[in-house]
Amino acid sequence: MTGAATAARRLGRDWPALLGLAVIILSTVAAVAAPALAPTDPVKNDLLARLTPPMWVTGGDRAHPLGTDTLGRDVLSRLLYGARVSLVIGLTAVVLAGAAGVVLGLIAGYYRGWLDDVLMRVGDIQLAFPVLLLGVALLSVLGASLGNLIAVLALSGWVTYARIVRGKRCRSPSASSSRRPARLGARDGHVIRRHILVNVWPPIIVVATFSVARVIIAEASLSFLGLGIPPPAPSWGAMLDEGRNYLTTGWWLALFPGLAILAVVLGINLVGDWLRDLLDPRLERGMRTRAPISNARPS
C-alpha cells in the first residue's frame, strides 16, 4: 500500500499528470455516457439546419452547441460518439499488440534458438515499414472495417513489446537466476510467470500508455484518408476529412475534432510521462518512438 500512497502523493505534486488524468477521465466519461450526453442522434440528418455555426457565433443555435455539419448532423454529438471509436480502437489495438508482443518476446527470449532469430528478423522488417503505409496498403485490400482497423494497428505495434521482453530477459543481471529455478526442476510456465514477467511489466505499462496515443493518431489519420470505419459512424479523423472541404464556410467542422484528438493525445502522453518517472526512470524518452534501425543490428 505504501507504493500506492507514494504514487498518489507524487501525482498530487505533478500538475501536468493531474491534468492528463483529468482529460482521460473526462474523455472516458464522454465516451461511456455518449447516449446520455449527446444533444441529438449523431447520424440524424437535418438538412434545413445544415452548417449551423457554434452557438456563441451569430446565427448559432442553442440546440447545437458546437454547430452542425454539411448534413445538419450535430457536431457535439458526433464528437462524443467519436470518442468511443477512438478510445475503443486505441485500447483494443494496444492490448492486442501488447499481449502478442509479450508472448512472442517471451518465446524468443526464453527458448532462443532459430525461433528467436526468425521472430526478431520479422520484427526488424516490421519496424522498417511506416505504420501508415502498411495501413493504407492492407486496409485498401482487406476493406475498411472496425475489426480490420484494429488488426492493422495492433499488427504494427507488437514488435516494441517483444523487444522489451526479450531484451529485459537477455540483459537483466538475473539472467542466470531465471535459469536456476529451471535447473531445480521448475516448469517453464512457473519460471516465466514468477521470475520473468514480474520484471518486465513496468516498461510494458509505460510503452503501452504512449502507444494508446500513437494508435489514436494513426486511427484518425487512416479515417482521415477514408480508410477508417465506414460512414456514417462518427470518427474524429473522418470528421476532419469532411471539415477539410468546408474550411472557408464551416471552420468549426475541422477545429473541434482536431482539438479533441489533441486533448486526448496530450492527456495520455502527460500520464505516460508520469508513469515512466514512477515505474521506470531508466526508460529513455526514445522508447516512445521506434528504435533506430541502425541500432537494431547486433554489433
Binding site: A128, F129, P130, V131, L132, L133, V136, A137, L139, S140, V141, I217, A220, S221, F224, L225, G226, L227, L240, G243, R244, L247, T248, W251, A254, L255, P257, G258, I261, L262, V265, R285, G286, T289, R290, P292, I293, S294
Partner: protein, 166 residues
C-alpha cells in the same frame, strides 16, 4: 498534435482568414511549398530538438567549447563551431529517421494540401482499389526508406570520427 490537423488550421489562418496570403492547395511555386512543409516539419521537430539539446548543453559546459569563449570569441560562433559539431551525431540519427517517417507523414499532408505527390497517388489508388499502383507505391516507399537509412549510416562516418567505413 496530428500534423494533418495543423495543416488544416494553417490553411484556415493563412489562406482563409488572411485572404490568401499563402495558397491553400496545389503546387507550382515556392509559395505553395510553405504551408505543407511547415505542417510536415512540425511533428518531428520537437524530437529533433530534444535529441540535440543534451549534446549542446553538455558540450557547452565542458572544456571543448569553454576555451574559445574566454579568448574573446562571440558566443554564436562558439556555439556553431564547437557545440553544434558535437551535437550533430544524435541529430543525424533522429533527422534520418524522421525523414523516413516523414514519408508516411507526407501521405496525409499531401492529401490535406492536394499536393500531387507519391503519397496522394497512393491514397487515390487505395480508394480506387487500383492494386498495381498500390503495390508499386508501397514498394517505392520501402526502397526510399531503406536508401535514407543507408545514407544516415554513411553520414555517421562523416560526423563521428570513431566510425570507420571499412
Amino acid at each position: 498534435m496530428p500534423g494533418f490537423w495543423l495543416g488544416l488550421m494553417l490553411i484556415l489562418v493563412f489562406a482563409v482568414e488572411l485572404k490568401g496570403l499563402l495558397p491553400a492547395y496545389g503546387s507550382g511555386s515556392l509559395r505553395h511549398l510553405i504551408l505543407p512543409a511547415v505542417a510536415l516539419a512540425a511533428a518531428p521537430s520537437p524530437r529533433t530538438c530534444a535529441s540535440s539539446a543534451p549534446g549542446c548543453s553538455r558540450c557547452s559546459s565542458r572544456t571543448t567549447s569553454a576555451p574559445p569563449a574566454p579568448r574573446g570569441r562571440r558566443s554564436a560562433s562558439c556555439l556553431y563551431r564547437h557545440a553544434l559539431k558535437n551535437a550533430a551525431l544524435p541529430f543525424v540519427t533522429v533527422a534520418g529517421l524522421s525523414l523516413g517517417f516523414m514519408l508516411s507523414g507526407a501521405i496525409i499532408i499531401e492529401t490535406v494540401f492536394s499536393w500531387p505527390g507519391l503519397g496522394r497517388l497512393l491514397v487515390q489508388a487505395a480508394s480506387a482499389r487500383d492494386f498495381p499502383v498500390i503495390q508499386a507505391g508501397v514498394f517505392l516507399f520501402g526502397v526510399i526508406f531503406v536508401l535514407v537509412n543507408l545514407a544516415v549510416d554513411l553520414l555517421y562516418a562523416v560526423v563521428d570520427p570513431q566510425v570507420r567505413l571499412s
